[in-house]
Structure formats: structure tokens, C-alpha cells
């Protein structure tokens, strides 16, 4: 990638240095804690699955029962599960069924800790091997179908609420050229402290993320991939109160991307900050191990704040998301840092400012597959004007070498996309991107011109914003409303009661193995 903006390398290095300094104290805290969903994710990787007659998932039954028992969760949940597996000599499926029927793991202490540990390690190894197998399969297919995907990857969303209907729409989109399909989740799933079980056919504004739904969509997209000789990536949302569990389930079912932001839940879903920081680390470790590309949520800053005035907060958040991701063992090539084309269309030279922002992100994060989001905030219902705005967005994306391109819908703000809306979005993007294929190599930005000046200004602002955050500390900065103009109290928000201090005997072989494999210290 050729640099065109003449950005100050010292400023960029300073941004990274500040991000490290801001994140370090958070990581220190995070390592001393686990959460109910970290424990449930650990159990899931070891084989815990299923639900009881009332729909309460087995991992929740185990964790809830341990928490309310005298032993609590401070030692972790896995040893108790492994102990039951060892003593009963049952395979996970049969043990899960017994737990679903009411067998209570907390009712008796661990009999033989050494034997339980051996069993746990065996169960965890099987789960991690399945995840590794999925990763190898993805890599093989990407090699086999190399050069067949669009550049940037064209990303589409389906959201019918019914997984079987989603399959039809996803297959149609993939056949027409989509490289990535995201199944948007049902309203407010992010606030459920459990993951529903089984295939689902009813949702509101989206479809429940369940492991079975993941499996169904995976198979459907693989079918199209074989036919088209083009690997189709599947995306879901490792966000909300069950970040690590969704990551685990996605890893087990070979999802390829996860929406996964270090602070989104705090700011936009009012989830407690301590809980989120612990959960995001574990979920990102799983994503890193599974080779899953994360998509961060900086676009949300721009739908709530003004895209022109607050462009620096996007860059600052990208620096922080990058640092948190490195701390969890994710390499740059798996970091789909987010941003969006959301400036007010009436701003004079607005397109140049968008171009500056996108090119700046490209140059500061050269190996990262940047996730670029389309206009939504100023889409009005005028579908014709909307299509023009989407076309400008398509142009900006290709001109600046973005990695993951979420296709705009001309009916944004009207309804969840019709099948033909996606088709129009795909066809128009393919036209724009093909007809200007080599544009990025042809173009330079004039020294002292609008684009270079704007990028330099945003970088400057982002660095001084990070300096302010470093002085205050990240938690106090969030509490003071420095991000997206939202204030969140440290002990407020949802899910704080699910935060558990690790006891001296805390034991989690999933965490240990992920840290070892990813080369990150515990």
C-alpha cells in the first residue's frame, strides 16, 4: 500500500503508545476476574450444550447452581463438570441430558481433583481440536478458491427472524456475488444473559444467534461456495452479555467473522464496563484462536454523534480496539476495524472529507481489513437519492482500498431489505468497483489540499483526545461521557452481578491453552 497523505509517523506512533498506556491498567484488572459467560463459554468448549424443558441452557444451569452454592464460581466451573463426567463415565451429550433433567453439579464436591483435571483437559482438547479443524478447513477453502472473492469483500445482512427464510435470502445474495453474509440478531438478544438453544423461526428485526442456527447457515453457505467456487464468509455478533459464548459457538461452527467491539456494549447497550472488559478479552482470545476476523463498531459513534465533528473519536477508538485486540492475541490481519460513511450529504466537499477519513484509516492500519459501513443516518426514504449516496460510498471504499464493505441498501430507513434491494446494492457496487478498479493506484492527493489537511487535522485531534483519556483513565473517561457523549457509571449497567473475582484455586485450561497458543501472558 502506497502512502499518499504524508501523515506524521511520530503522531501515529504516539497514538499507539497512548492506546497501550490506556489499556494496560484495564488488562491488569481483567486478568483477576472471570464472569458467568466466560465460565459458560469454557464449559461449551468442553462440550456442555443443550437446554432443559423450560429452555434454560445447560451451561447456565451449571454456572447458576455453582454460583448459588457455598463453593461459588471463584474456582471456575469446568472442574465440577469434568468431575461429573469422570465419575459418571458419561460422554458430554449424556451428561448434558442428565443436567437438563435436573442433576445438580453443585450438590457434591469434587471427588478426585487429579482425575477431574485430566478429564477436563481431555474434554477441552477435543473442543479446541474441533475449532482448529474448522480453522484449517477455512484456510484450505480460501486457498482453493483464491482470487474468486471481490475486493473489498462485499458484505450483506439478512434479518428475517426465521433461520430457514434467512437461508433462502443468504443463498440468493451469495449467488449474486456477496462474499460475506451476516445474520443480524433479534432485537435485544445482546441483553440476554444466556444463549437460546436450537433452530429458531421467530425473531424481531433479526434472528436469534443459536449454535444450531449457525450450523444451518454454515451448511447453506458452503453449498453455494462449492457451486460458485468462492468462499462465503459467515458473520454473527459476539457482543452483548454473552460475548465469549457466542465466540465459542461461532468457533465450533466455523463462523468467519464476529462483530466484536471492546466498548460497544458499555456505550450503546449499557452493559457494565468491568463485565464488558473481562468478556471482550476472552471472546477475542477465542476469535484469535479460531482465525475469526473481528469487526469493531466505530460506525456507531457516527450514528449517534456527528460524523464530521467527531471523526477523531472514531480514530481514537480504532487505536483502542487495536490495542485491546493485540492484548487478546489477535493479529492485525484479523482486525476489521470499523468506520462509516455517515457525513451529512449537504456538507460542501463532504465526499473529500469522507475520502480523507477512509484513506487515513487505511494508512494508519495498513494490514487490517477495515470494515467500512454505508450511509444510514441521512438515508431518507428517497430511494433514488439513497442509491446515489450508496454509489459515492462504493466509490470511496474502492478508492481507498477498504477490506470489508457493508453494502448500502437504497431502502435503508424504510424496511428490512427486500431481496431486490440487496440485488440492486450488489449490482451497483460491482459496477462502480469494476469500472474504477485501478483508480487507487492512479490517484495522488495534492500537498496542502483538502484531503491531506483534513486527515492531518483528524489525526492531531485523535492524539489529543487520547492524551486526555490517558490522563483521566479509561473508566473515568467513559464515566465522564467522553465517548459518543454517553456517560456510564463504573458500577452501573447490566451484568455487573455476573462478574466474579478469581479465587486462589481458579482453574481454566481453556484460558491457559489459548494464552499459550496465542503467545500472550496470563
Amino acid at each position: 500500500m502506497r502512502k499518499k497523505l504524508g501523515l506524521s509517523e511520530e503522531k501515529i506512533a504516539r497514538g499507539r503508545e497512548l492506546a497501550s498506556a490506556i489499556v494496560a491498567p484495564i488488562m491488569e484488572f481483567v486478568r483477576g476476574y472471570t464472569t458467568v459467560t466466560v465460565e459458560r463459554a469454557t464449559l461449551r468448549i468442553a462440550g456442555a450444550d443443550g437446554a432443559d424443558a423450560d429452555g434454560v441452557p445447560v451451561p447456565n444451569k451449571i454456572v447458576d447452581s455453582l454460583r448459588s452454592s457455598d463453593s461459588g464460581l471463584g474456582d471456575g466451573a469446568l472442574l465440577r463438570y469434568a468431575d461429573a463426567a469422570e465419575r459418571s463415565a458419561l460422554p458430554p451429550e449424556a451428561l448434558n441430558a442428565r443436567i437438563a433433567e435436573g442433576f445438580d453439579l453443585a450438590s457434591r464436591p469434587v471427588a478426585d481433583a487429579a482425575a477431574a483435571r485430566r478429564k477436563a483437559e481431555e474434554l477441552v482438547a477435543a473442543g479446541l481440536e474441533r475449532i482448529s479443524r474448522n480453522k484449517r478447513r477455512r484456510e484450505e477453502k480460501l486457498r482453493e478458491f483464491a482470487g474468486r472473492n471481490n475486493d473489498p469483500l462485499l458484505y450483506l445482512i439478512v434479518a428475517t427472524g426465521n433461520i430457514h427464510e434467512d437461508v433462502k435470502q443468504a443463498q440468493a445474495a451469495a449467488l449474486k456475488g456477496a462474499d460475506v453474509v451476516a445474520v443480524i440478531r433479534t432485537t435485544a438478544q445482546s441483553l440476554l444473559d444466556y444463549v437460546p438453544y436450537g433452530a429458531t423461526t421467530e425473531g424481531f428485526g433479526g434472528t436469534y444467534a443459536t449454535q444450531e442456527n449457525f450450523r444451518i447457515m454454515r451448511a447453506a453457505l458452503d453449498e453455494v461456495a462449492e457451486r460458485e467456487k468462492r468462499y462465503i464468509r459467515l458473520t454473527n455478533y459476539a457482543s452483548g452479555l454473552c460475548m465469549p459464548e457466542i465466540a465459542a459457538m461461532g468457533a465450533l461452527e466455523r463462523l468467519d467473522m464476529m462483530l466484536n467491539d471492546s466498548m460497544y456494549g458499555i456505550l450503546f447497550r449499557d452493559i457494565n464496563m468491568y463485565r464488558t472488559f473481562v468478556d471482550q478479552r476472552f471472546s477475542r482470545m477465542i476469535n484469535a484462536y479460531a482465525g475469526i476476523t473481528i469487526n469493531t463498531g466505530e460506525d456507531n459513534y457516527l450514528t449517534t454523534s456527528d460524523a464530521f465533528e467527531n471523526a477523531d473519536t472514531v480514530l481514537a477508538s480504532q487505536f483502542l480496539n487495536e490495542r485491546f485486540a493485540y492484548e487478546a492475541g489477535l493479529p492485525a490481519r484479523l482486525m476489521g476495524l470499523g468506520h462509516a460513511y455517515e457525513m451529512d450529504p449537504s456538507i460542501k466537499d463532504g465526499f473529500l472529507f469522507e475520502l480523507a477519513q477512509a484513506q487515513m484509516a487505511r494508512e494508519i492500519f495498513p494490514e487490517h481489513p477495515l470494515k467500512y459501513m454505508p450511509p444510514t443516518k441521512f438515508m431518507s426514504g428517497d430511494v433514488f437519492q439513497g442509491l446515489v449516496m450508496d454509489s459515492m460510498f462504493n466509490f470511496a471504499s474502492k478508492a481507498t482500498g477498504q477490506g470489508i464493505h457493508l453494502l448500502g441498501m437504497l431502502t435503508e430507513a424504510i424496511h428490512t431489505p427486500f431481496m431486490m434491494d440487496r440485488f440492486i446494492g450488489l449490482e451497483s457496487a460491482k459496477y462502480v468497483m469494476n469500472s474504477m478498479s485501478s483508480f487507487a493506484e492512479e490517484i495522488e492527493f495534492r500537498e496542502g489540499g483538502i484531503v491531506r489537511s483534513r486527515a492531518a487535522e483528524v489525526l492531531d485531534q485523535a492524539v489529543s483526545f487520547l492524551e486526555d483519556i490517558e490522563k483521566r483513565g479509561l473508566l473515568d473517561s467513559i464515566a465522564a461521557g467522553l465517548f459518543a457523549e454517553v456517560k456510564r457509571a463504573k458500577d452501573g449497567g447490566k451484568g455487573l452481578d455476573g462478574l466474579v473475582k478469581k479465587g486462589p484455586a481458579y482453574w481454566n485450561p481453556v484460558e491457559a491453552e489459548l494464552e499459550r497458543a496465542l503467545g500472550i501472558g496470563g
Binding site: A172, K176, L191, F268, R269, K377, A413, F418
Partner: protein
């Protein structure tokens, strides 16, 4: 004299309309004829299918032009003056209104009360991100919004509202099985009245099956049902505070 109007393409009364749609059939000559017959079947005449494309093996996309003879009497059309949504102010207008008329921030405390665990409604109104392109109350510069979340007992809601000096209480009720919401909502008003504090707060109820009529019957100032957004609620609260101040 009736004032008959028809669509205008390039000549008065030519009745021209443009249509685009998808049919669940393969693209091809048969599909295009199916599209043409569909348009004629809807009562149009002179249909021309100007474009067709395959969306997948089994779905096809069409653009068509056609004419209609059907006109309507323009005088029979009515502007929906009662439509709250049309009349409602935007977030910026509400902020400006509060700044100009009240000159201070409005404090609003919201919760989903009783055992109802569904925060969807209260979050749609209060959370920063809001819903369907209508930002939530947390985003308003002139509103201090406190979202207490779900399963909040009425006593705690009142206690909290007293503590932060709230102007308004928002109560969301999603679950209405066995009329549980009636009990929860009535209890709040009774508790407030017992403490002599009903007049202190603007009380608003909301939920997919809560209408203004029901809410007012139960002693609330207003109720907001399906299709209501944060700006509808904020505009009502701001105006109500002002009228209460005038009454005093």
C-alpha cells in the same frame, strides 16, 4: 366541482407510474410475461416491462411502466392533522424548546417495573442509540435520562426519582398476560398518591399494548404504544412540565 387527479408522467392525466418488484419465478420470457400480466392484473393498462434480471435461480427482478385510468378527488384527501408523528418535534427542536422554555435540563427516570424483564421498550426510548433512527433520551442534550432497567419495584423507582429530583417517570410494560401490567401501573399511581407526590412527577406509561386511553384511565398523564419514539415521549414530557408550571 370534483378535482380529479391522476399520476403525471410527461403529460397531464397520462396516468404513468413506475413499478419495481420481485417475483418468485425464474427470469426469462415466461417470467417477463408473468410480470406484465401481474401489472395488468393490478388494474393498470399498457404495461411495459423495461427490465428484468435473475436474482437467483428461483427469483427475478422487474422494472415496469404502466398507466392507470383511476383518478381520485383531491378534495377527498385529508391531511392527517391528528397524526402525532407528523406534528412531533425532532430531537434538536425538543432540546431547543427545553432550553428556551424551561431553561434547565429535564430529569427523566425510566424503568420496566414489576417482574417484567423485557427492556426492549424502555431501551428503545431511552438508550443512546434509540430505535429506527430516532435517538433515545440519553442522546438529548437537555435531558438527563436515568434508565433503571428491568424488574424494578415501584417503590425503588419512586425512591430513585426522589433522589435525583426527577421531573418525569417512564414506565414500560411489555408483558400483559393476565393483565399483570394493570396491577403494576395502578400500584405506582397509588403509591405516589399515598405519598402525596402524584403531582410532583409527569407519569408516562409505554409498551406495545399500552394506549393513551388506558394509561390515562389508570391515572397516568399519557400512554405511548407501538410506533412511538423517544421524540414523541420527550416532546410530551417537555410540554407537560411547562403547562404544569403555568398551572401553579
Amino acid at each position: 366541482m370534483a378535482h380529479i387527479v391522476r399520476p403525471y408522467g410527461d403529460t397531464l392525466d397520462d396516468g404513468k407510474v413506475q413499478l419495481s418488484f420481485t417475483l418468485p419465478v425464474p427470469d426469462g420470457p415466461k417470467g417477463r410475461d408473468a410480470a406484465r400480466l401481474s401489472v395488468l392484473g393490478w388494474g393498470f393498462r399498457d404495461c411495459e416491462v423495461v427490465h428484468s434480471a435473475a436474482i437467483s435461480d428461483d427469483f427475478s427482478f422487474y422494472v415496469a411502466y404502466a398507466s392507470t385510468d383511476r383518478g381520485i378527488d383531491f378534495d377527498s384527501a385529508k391531511a392527517d392533522a391528528a397524526s402525532e408523528a407528523e406534528a412531533a418535534m425532532s430531537m434538536d427542536e425538543i432540546d431547543e424548546y427545553i432550553r428556551a422554555v424551561l431553561g434547565r435540563k429535564v430529569v427523566i427516570v425510566g424503568a420496566c417495573t414489576g417482574f417484567d424483564a423485557h427492556t426492549v421498550g424502555i431501551d428503545a426510548i431511552m438508550n443512546m442509540k434509540g430505535y429506527n433512527h430516532h435517538y433515545g433520551l440519553e442522546r438529548y442534550k437537555m435531558i438527563e435520562a436515568h434508565n433503571l432497567g428491568a424488574q424494578v419495584p415501584n417503590e425503588r423507582l419512586i425512591e430513585y426519582a426522589e433522589k435525583v429530583g426527577a421531573d418525569a417517570l417512564l414506565v414500560s410494560q411489555v408483558v400483559t398476560q393476565k393483565d399483570v401490567h394493570i396491577g403494576n401501573l395502578t400500584e405506582l399511581i397509588e403509591l405516589l398518591e399515598a405519598k402525596g407526590e402524584r403531582g410532583r412527577f409527569v407519569c408516562v406509561a409505554g409498551g406495545p399494548r399500552i394506549g393513551n386511553k388506558l394509561a390515562v384511565e389508570l391515572g397516568f398523564d399519557a400512554g405511548f404504544g407501538r410506533g412511538s419514539y423517544a421524540n414523541d415521549v420527550a416532546a410530551f414530557v417537555a410540554k407537560k412540565i411547562e403547562s404544569k408550571a403555568k398551572d401553579r
